[in-house]
């Protein structure tokens, strides 16, 4: 049994939208400090799992524990980087103001100065400090995504969750993004949610795939798959090195790299 605390655990989770069963008997866990990927085709339930982790939806069966408690209680420990496709380009806001938002907590108004300092530090982290005063709408798509990463970093999160971080991103921004993530690997629990089923960044420790339906079930479940190095991976992919997801080598969803076998505790 490993001593490394568990950051996130799904136990027998089921979720459905009225008649539509989305998830059924989902079991997996992520340890603190691990770099994981959650992959699945569009419409497979990735967003639902994300919403359950963020406490935006409640499971009908089973239990989701985030750092040992209900997601709603502990979600402020998460630095969340949305895909953010619903962005309104006419919203007047500067890069610094977007990042500062990450330091907000509930209805408090305190700590404007601290939030400013933290916001500048986070912008430094993603190498965008020079653009702090620029309107957010003037940035390229890749830069905007890195601003959202900075926003997620402001509060010093124990876990980073990135939703489709490389969608519509140029190679340069992608490389810088993964440089930032490499810096945080091991220090922070990182979860990347993506529809790219074939490869993941070489930083990835574990990959969870959504999509398999157990016999007699309507909802999807989650399985863990093996990874192998991808030789000659193109340099524009994840900043240079990638791993191939072996979909035919299935590990038990609760299989754990920390003690070399299934871990239910």
């Amino acid at each position: 049994m490993s001593d490394v605390p568990i950051a996130l655990r799904f136990s027998h989770v089921a979720f459905s939208y009225e008649a539509l069963s989305v998830l059924e008997d989902v079991n997996f866990h992520i340890h603190a400090g691990e770099f994981s990927a959650l992959v699945g085709p569009n419409g497979s339930g990735k967003t639902t799992i994300l919403k359950l982790i963020l406490g935006l939806e409640q499971s009908q069966k089973g239990e989701v524990l985030l750092f040992g408690d209900a997601p709603r209680k502990n979600r402020s420990m998460i630095g969340y980087v949305p895909q953010h496709i619903t962005y309104d380009p006419t919203f007047p806001i500067s890069v610094l103001e977007v990042v500062r938002m990450g330091g907000l907590l509930s209805i408090s108004r305190k700590g404007r100065l601290e939030r400013d300092t933290a916001a500048y530090a986070a912008l430094e982290q993603v190498e965008l400090r020079d653009l702090a005063q620029r309107p957010y709408s003037e940035l390229s798509g890749g830069q905007r995504r890195r601003v959202l990463v900075a926003r997620a970093l402001v509060a010093g999160p124990k876990m980073l969750i990135l939703d489709e971080p490389t969608a519509n991103m140029d190679a340069e921004s992608e490389k810088r993004l993964f440089d930032t993530l490499r810096f945080f690997k091991g220090k922070t629990t990182i979860l990347i949610v993506t529809h790219d089923m074939s490869t993941v960044s070489s930083l990835t420790d574990r990959v969870f795939c959504i999509g398999a339906q157990k016999p007699g079930q309507k909802g999807r479940t989650v399985v863990q798959h093996s990874l192998e190095p991808l030789l000659n991976s193109p340099t524009e992919l994840y900043g240079g090195s990638a791993l191939r997801v072996l979909h035919d080598v299935e590990l038990p969803a609760d299989y754990c790299t920390f003690d070399g076998g299934p871990n239910n505790g």
């Binding site: 963020l54 949305p82 309104d88 007047p92 806001i93 103001e97 209805i107």
Partner: protein, 292 residues
Amino acid sequence: MDNLFGFFSALGNPDFPFVRNALLAGLLSSILFGVIGSVVTVKRIAGLAGAISHAVLGGIGIALYLSATGKVPGITPMAGAIVFAILAAAIIGVVSLKAKQREDTVIQAIWAIGMSIGVLFMAKTPGYTDPSSYLFGNILLISTKDLVLLFSLDVIVILLAWRFYPQIEATSFDEEFAQVRGIPTQWVFLLMLTITAVAVVLLQTFVGIVMVIAMLTLPAGTAGYWAKNLAAMMGLGTLFSALFSFGGLAAGWMLDVPVGAMVVVIAGGVFLGTAATKMLLTYRRRRALHHD
């Protein structure tokens, strides 16, 4: 020019307090239009505000009827309007938050039903009541008591906007993220709708339903083209709104036309002009970049 001079001398003339009151009302309303208008614009709830302000006519109609028939003596149109506004805001708020579909149908239904109730009750009210006076209002009928009410709401709105600025900004920019940060986004939204509803009632009794909707969107929309952030948008929106009100009042006086309609035409003209200029500038900048 004589007319303009006449307007300014009327402003300073103690025998014409209504001109001065109208100007003061315009300036005090501008704060509401600038601050609430900016929130309504970035939060994209102008349609909801439109439905609330039109539904208010139902409350006005019922109040007029109850008072004129002696069933509830002395009930003011504003009291009826407040009840309907809060009711409409509550229904629209809950529908927007809970209903996954047909949200716009419900909102349009409330808009139409509210107005129709108003027209029906006005028709049965003894004596003649002209619904159009509530659509366009009459800024020249403002009393000192009304000004005090407006001023009070200004103070409340400024205090709320200052206190909850980070939350307003976050929920308007990225609601899901705001929720993850523990901001009670649904309550913020309902509070926004309620404040908008109360402001709409107060404003529309002076300037009319049509002008309220125009002034909640046009000055803030114009400001949005130039402002760097939401706070600047609120400030600029207030300034634009004050200028439009002053311009409309002066032009209305000089040309002897309804002030409310004049203000809306000026606000609309400036908004469309700004939008066209901005589009042209963006187009030219893109072309210049393309040729580099």
